[in-house]
Amino acid sequence: MALIRKAKQSPWQHKHLLGLRDLKAEEITYILDTAKGFEQISTRSVKKAPPLRGKVVCNLFFEDSTRTRNSFTLAANRLSADVIEFTERASSVSKGETLLDTARNLEAMGIDIVVIRHNAGGAPKFLSRNINACVVNAGDGFCEHPTQGLLDVYTIRKFRGSLEGLKIAIVGDIAHSRVARSCMWAMTKLGAEVIFVGPPTLMPAQVDRLPVSVSYSLDEVIEKVDVINMLRIQFERLGGNPFPSVREYSHYFGLTVERMKKAKPNILVMHPGPINRGLEMESEVADGSNSVILEQVKNGLAVRMAVLFLVNQATAMRR
């Protein structure tokens, strides 16, 4: 009840969570605060709370995912929602059901919240325009992955209290990374300074117009930053040959034990998973004392519970 009362005074009015770009800092903070309240549910012996009882959450995944999907399922379960799984290959013009038809079908089934992952940037927005249910973006193309961005700032906040003034490096394939984009929006809105690090061939177009600085040298950046977020090299998204070899990539941008020696002693090492061990990061670093990678996974659950709770709450208030 306490949570519900709080929500009514909340600055959160959105029926959908499509991305972090358009959110205000207060809205992001509010999700994080709400997540904090949910974190303890997972430590109880009965790991369930009733706020979404009688609601149906649909996991609509057009791309492979293990952790995000499971995390959303678990989050929905813990809030007592019913969960259905809807796995599809991304539609094409010529074959298969269109996203619009899928949306209409879900509508007919009385789904309350759709959690969508899709290979096309903007697919969640498209869905939200064509469906009455709440839409939560679980990753769209290389546009956004808002719950990942949220869980990352949640994790940082947990360890550092605040993001204000922190220097954060995001390293790797920025061009094709929705995680980089969501992190950038969330982190900069909360007062951190973000540095994109990677080869120029993996930087997005007009990166200079983003609220970040750019470096091509991890060695120069490593000693300055409080947090380092290593992206996974997404071999499935890379077009052409953006770097000559994995060996050379690791040499310049891998987080090695050697490189870690130059880092601040309390640097937080993050990774959205799944890790290519030995490529972005050496195992000793991934499993080392600065790594908060598993903490991220744990926090992801609380953040996703908060998101499902809040979008549902916003809908309830509109009714």
Binding site: L99, A120, G121, R181, A205
Partner: protein
């Protein structure tokens, strides 16, 4: 008995003959008979007081989708839309399904147009078989059948040696080779302009280099062929860089022309921000800077034609993710008003200059004897109310498709009547 149509009291604009004055136009038996103060009676008299009387408008870049995609548009539906928009001649692109790649295909388009009897319908043929960019299509036979030029529009001819061969071969026939300038190695799988917006929207971008690299390459190929009898036409140029290339090419007096669409003058990449697929078009919408450059080029006389690139698609095809929806904007029916908004209202062009870019100049590009009101020419005339305001409503389109981002725009400049070969084929009041 002869058939007479007299258009009285209009402001007659005939750029090719340097005419811009209030007078009358008499058409007898389908041909222009006289321009001036005409007092004799005629069977049909149109009072055009307060209106512009111009040569019939010509759009040298439309997609009427026939054969193959008749659900999107047909030559019949497109022709009805064309006359309602003041176009007395259009040029269909050959990227139909199957493509227009032999004389039978060309004749098919002409036959469909004759059956409709609305606007003159010309077609370009494919440069290469199946638009695949590998083997030359039968340009000679197609030219003999009446194809007014060749293009693989929708694709650029990627292989420079194939393009060189096409240009060389075409010198036999005095035809125009038109290119959709797009180097695929730069365009990649881009669905919008590469830049800030593609980055924040998470959509693959196509770099402006894709257009400019191919235009630059083709200019070199044209130089190589000269003094061969060649005409090269760059379709729908969209970037400041392309303008710069055109400026140099024209300074060097190369036989190179180019065209611009309304969307590249009115819309920017920013319009894609809501993932509205009606803004998905190829070449993609660029930036305000590119629009500025294009307008400057138009004012300077570097641009030779205004075209629509009318690309109709079904709503069901456009109701997809931005990534998967097809490219194209259907703008034939509001074209004139869009050019008025883009060019006349901000003072880039005056009416005679605008009309020239929609009549005499495009006609010259395709080598067709049209676009003027010279005595003896076919009686194709468009009557325009330059001050009439209206709201664009896609639901009133005669075209089969509604994929038009200008829906709801208030615009100025309305086609009152369209006369094709001396016959009134469209009249706004019925």
């Amino acid at each position: 008995m002869s058939n007479e149509l007299l258009i009285k009291n209009g402001r007659v604009i005939d750029p090719a003959n340097g005419i811009d004055k209030e007078c009358d136009v008499l058409i007898v038996d389908g041909s222009i008979a006289e321009i001036g103060k005409i007092e004799k009676p005629a069977q049909t008299v149109i009072d055009a007081a307060g209106k512009l009387v111009t040569p019939g408008l010509i759009d040298i870049h439309v997609h009427f989708r026939e054969p193959g995609d008749e659900e999107e548009e047909t030559i019949a539906s497109g022709s009805v839309a064309a006359v309602a928009a003041g176009f007395t001649s259009v040029v269909c692109m050959p990227n139909t399904n199957p493509p227009i790649e032999n004389e039978t295909d060309v004749e098919y388009v002409h036959r469909k147009a004759r059956q409709t009897r609305k606007t003159h319908v010309y077609t370009m043929g494919a440069i290469t078989k199946g638009l695949k960019g590998v083997e030359l299509a039968e340009m000679g036979f197609m030219a003999e059948a009446g194809a007014v030029g060749f293009t693989d529009d929708g694709n650029g001819v990627q292989d420079p040696s194939v393009m060189l061969r096409a240009l060389k071969y075409a010198t036999m026939f005095d035809v125009v080779i038109a290119q959709h300038c797009q180097d695929n190695s730069f365009a990649g799988n881009g669905v919008m302009n590469s830049g800030y917006y593609s980055t924040i929207l998470g959509l693959p971008g196509a770099d402006t280099l894709a257009e400019e690299a191919m235009l630059w390459r083709d200019i070199q190929l044209v130089k190589k062929i000269r003094p061969g009898r060649i005409r090269y036409h760059a379709q729908h140029i969209s970037t400041a860089g392309s303008v710069e290339l055109m400026r140099t090419a024209k300074k060097d007096s190369l036989p190179i022309t180019c065209e611009v669409t309304p969307h590249h003058l009115l819309l920017t990449e920013q319009h894609c921000a809501e993932y509205d697929t009606n803004y998905k078009v190829n070449p993609p919408l660029r930036t305000a800077k590119d629009i500025e450059a294009l307008k400057e080029a138009i004012a300077e006389g570097l641009i030779d034609a205004l075209v629509t690139d009318h690309a109709p698609h079904l709503q069901s095809e456009k109701e997809l993710e931005f990534l998967t929806a097809p490219f194209g904007i259907a703008s034939l029916e509001c074209a004139l008003a869009l050019f008025v908004k883009a060019l006349i209202e901000p003072g880039v062009l005056n009416w005679p200059k605008l009309i020239e870019l929609m009549t005499a100049k495009p006609s010259r590009i395709i080598g067709v004897d049209k676009g003027t009101l010279s005595k003896g020419k076919q009686g194709d005339v468009t009557i325009i109310d330059p001050n009439a305001e209206y709201v664009i409503d896609v639901n009133k389109f005669r075209s089969k498709s509604r994929n038009c981002p200008y829906h709801g725009w208030t615009v100025k400049g309305k086609v009152e009547k369209t006369v094709v070969g001396g016959e009134i084929r469209y009249s706004a009041d019925n």
